[in-house]
Symmetry: C2
Subunit: 292 residues, 2 copies
């Protein structure tokens, strides 16, 4: 099948690679061409714009960073929708605004194009191992057309509802992760200050009611002083801000989320934008005048 | 072996039952005698006070509700320490103040008695299935003497350090759980308000980076409107308050913990003291003027 792939960052490259492996013909566009080199060597074709990439595609996939990027590569003058033919499918994997997903779905529908918002969870590892959780929003028709492709990229593929509902489900995911990271980092600070051995503490709390993916995967990185990104602080702040904006729009107060965003903002303002989300501990250490 | 067991609530009864099964002779004391009936029928002996229960015991176990209860049954005029002989061992399973654990260990040491603080995690199920995580604080000698018994009650038995360190490790556990519950409840509120199907959301987020014990075990109870206690709100507030007091004593600001305690306080003031910790959602619903 002819597929266009727009956005070849860490996640996008790994995901697009699976489509090459599956034998699809890929047209690529990315803001930074060098990031597409690996895929081009494997036989993908370079396109000079999202529009050019999308011209002959049956399915157009987008994995960008921010809602503004999605807007540009989908709805802009050189965007994919300009070239897509009726009956084709647009799948946006970016974590982005639900309202933008609705706007894209409407613009697509007016041209007879199917659209799906399909943000993912599972990080770079999940992308590489095709074990992502994919949360899809759009019509049943769009979901069914996309399913074989989604199923190749993810382990858990769920249709969450109409346009924007994939994004909303992803927001729920991020809300839960943010608060949990806060608890994990505060617990670790407490453990250190109380003079405990954080490894032994992990052995005790990791097998009980405090057990979580983040505790098992990110707490050990903090202990090792490893703040390398599985997921960037700046992207997480973008997600939390979208969640807070949506909550405000729905008249919903989420105090834990607001606090977590504030602490992550402190990580960013301390220079941690490109660190991983486990760097939340740095903000709490600063708050407590502790050297990292 | 002669063992005294003081406190036969939900957790204590299940744990003491394993010791009967293992063939130990048990002397029991509990504030409410009727709660000991099951164990008495199985051959345990009733004692009129903690002191009386402890008189011939090689090991005295305590599982009470609050630090004040522990203080009374251990250090009070009718407390266990009054009757314990030199070389005997006191194990306090109650989640309580680290400073009280130190005080008990000191009082015990002055009489040649060994003492261990050994709070547990894993709830009523963990107690029944002898799969608790047990976090022990005390001397190496006390831990080694206690180990065979702890190992019969728990799956994960860790020596966290000197007196009070078991309590500190349990505080870490509670700090992590509190923030995570906040994220889970806020995520669920968001999901509902956004019109998502919370079951489908669980299917999406439960297998990824938001996965946690509480999400798998308590989120479904909230969906079912089931606020029955695995663990009482009022006991959890006690724990969070101890953690905050200890943090303040150590000069540590933990904003997530402070917020979680405040929200749990709102659950209690709304009449939810004897509900399970998943009732946190009720406070967030009230904050948002939503009917439960």
């Amino acid at each position: 099948m002819q597929i266009a792939w727009i956005g070849t960052g860490v996640m996008g490259s790994a995901m697009a690679g699976h489509l090459l492996t599956a034998g699809h013909e890929l047209a690529l566009f990315s803001r930074t061409k060098s990031k597409a080199d690996g895929l081009l060597r494997r036989g993908a074709r370079w396109a000079v714009s999202p529009r050019a990439a999308a011209a002959d595609a049956e399915i157009v996939c987008v994995m960008a960073g921010y809602p503004e990027d999605v807007e540009a590569v989908v709805l802009g003058p050189e965007g994919a929708l300009q070239a897509m033919h009726s009956g084709a499918l647009l799948v946006d994997f970016t974590t982005s605004r639900p309202s933008l997903a609705v706007r894209i779905a409407d613009a697509a529908a007016s041209r007879g194009i199917l659209a799906l918002d399909a943000p993912v969870s599972g990080g770079d590892i999940g992308a590489r191992e095709a074990r992502l959780s994919i949360m899809a929003g759009g019509t049943k028709e769009a979901f069914e057309k996309a399913f074989p492709l989604l199923n190749r990229l993810g382990k858990t593929v769920m249709h969450q509802g109409g346009a924007g509902c994939g994004q909303h489900a992803k927001m729920v995911n991020q809300i839960m992760i943010a608060a949990n990271m806060m608890g994990i980092c505060e617990g670790l600070l407490y453990a250190r200050r109380a003079g405990l051995d954080p490894q032994k503490v992990l052995a005790s709390v990791g097998g009980g009611a405090a057990a979580s993916w983040s505790l098992a995967n990110l707490y050990p990185r903090i202990l090792a002083g490893d703040y390398q990104p599985g997921f960037y602080v700046e992207h997480f702040i973008k997600d939390l801000q979208i969640a807070l904006d949506e909550a405000a729009r729905m008249g919903l107060k989420l105090p834990g989320l607001a606090l977590a965003r504030q602490l992550y903002e402190a990580v960013r303002s301390g220079g941690g934008a490109r660190l991983g989300t486990q760097a939340l501990i740095l903000a709490l250490e600063r708050l407590n005048h502790l050297a990292p």
